[in-house]
């Protein structure tokens, strides 16, 4: 049975989309069939990491919600795109991406009119069934809003990304409270963009003690990530980097928790 994993952060700029793309691709490298749905309708962008231009897709999540296409029609196989541009690694599974529209008018329309929550839920199930998925990753909009709440509510697992930052810490506490109200079965934290002055075990221990929720990974800030500048999937470009090793460790934990 497919696992639905929503990736969330209370604040923007945590590296949520970047980690989602990296972890989902790492799961696919273990032979799994994976899809990512960009439910960040207000500010979509994860497609950039896969080298997908807005001219490359004719349908989006928006079209599905307006009944203009099937879920499968709006999902693109990005496995080959992810491994393009001279990357060394091979992906034995498959990665699909359902992007959100980048057209200003379409973003405004959906913000204005909203959509039937049941349709988004149906979309996830259609994708799982039609593509034979093992994992569906939901890249959410930061903060707590109506769309994000649905993604949280229907997830088998919620991954919350935070930086070692007081505002992130406060926001994560609020997010956890909401997730518990929505009966999310499994919650995991990832610490991202940590300055290297923080010792690993001490930081993980502090966060776990504060929230009572397991920390599945700790990612330190690094220059190579800045240089890549969303130009690809990091671990495919830097397979031996400590960041990449951590991505794979998180992917293995997700698979083991099935």
């Amino acid at each position: 049975m497919a696992q639905v994993i929503s990736i969330h952060s209370f604040r923007g700029g945590t590296g949520k989309s970047n980690l989602t793309a990296n972890i989902a691709t790492a799961v696919a490298s273990q032979g799994k069939r994976v899809a990512i749905v960009d439910t960040d309708i207000q500010s979509p962008g994860i497609h950039v990491l896969f080298g997908l231009d807005d001219e490359d897709f004719t349908h989006s999540l928006n079209d599905y919600l307006w009944d203009k296409c099937s879920a499968k029609d709006a999902a693109y196989d990005v496995t080959a795109l992810a491994t393009a541009n001279g990357t060394l690694a091979d992906i034995s599974g498959a990665v699909y991406l359902m992007p959100s529209s980048l057209k200003a008018g379409e973003i405004a329309k959906i913000l204005r009119e909203g959509y039937d929550v049941g349709l988004l839920n149906d979309c996830f199930h259609d994708l799982i069934n039609k593509l034979g998925l093992d994992y569906l990753f939901i890249d959410t909009h930061p903060g707590l809003n109506e769309e994000t709440l649905l993604s949280i509510a229907i997830s088998d697992r919620m991954v919350i990304i935070l930086r070692p930052d007081r505002q992130d810490f406060l926001g994560t506490a609020v997010t956890l409270e909401v997730a518990q109200k929505l009966d999310v079965p499994n919650i995991t934290l990832l610490i991202n963009k940590a300055p290297d002055i923080y010792p690993r075990e001490a930081l993980i221990g502090k966060v776990q003690a504060q929230y009572g929720v397991p920390v599945a990974g700790l990612f330190y800030e690094n220059d190579e990530m800045l240089q890549l500048a969303s130009g690809g999937i990091f671990w495919l470009h830097h397979p031996d980097h400590a960041f990449s090793q951590e991505v794979h460790a998180v992917a293995r934990q997700l698979i083991a928790a099935e």
Binding site: A104, G105, A108, K109, L111, R112, E113, G114, Y115, D116, V117, G118, L120, N121, D122, H125, N145, E146, E147, L149, L150, A153, I154, V178, K181, L182, D183
Partner: protein
């Protein structure tokens, strides 16, 4: 008033009254715990029959029926009785229409 046994069709008098329009996920968060828990479960299931709901909750039929009636009357659920058996489905929208000026929306669409 008696409640239907598991799997039985709803008696007309037990049928939930017309809904008060769709609700949002934020509205869901304001519900008391038993209603919220039931609605969370129904959201994951994408709907369920009365028999399935009773089997899942293991609660008193009268209590479940009352909760379903309340949730339907408040607009959180819709009873799809074209299905056999009838199915209770969440009636949620991503957001209620915004109150921003019409001209502002038109300028970006």
């Amino acid at each position: 008033m008696t409640s239907p046994a598991e799997g039985e069709a709803l008696h007309p008098q037990l049928r939930p009254v017309a809904a008060a329009g769709p609700k949002t996920m934020t509205d869901l968060l304001t519900l008391a715990e038993p209603e919220r828990t039931l609605l969370n479960w129904l959201l994951r299931q994408r709907g369920a029959s009365l028999a399935d709901i009773m089997a899942h909750t293991q609660a008193e039929p009268a209590a479940i029926q009352g909760m379903l009636n309340n949730l339907t009357a408040a607009g959180f659920l819709i009873l799809h009785d074209d299905a056999d058996p009838a199915v209770f489905k969440p009636n949620l929208v991503s957001r209620q229409p915004r109150t921003m000026p019409e001209e502002l929306w038109k300028s970006v669409e």
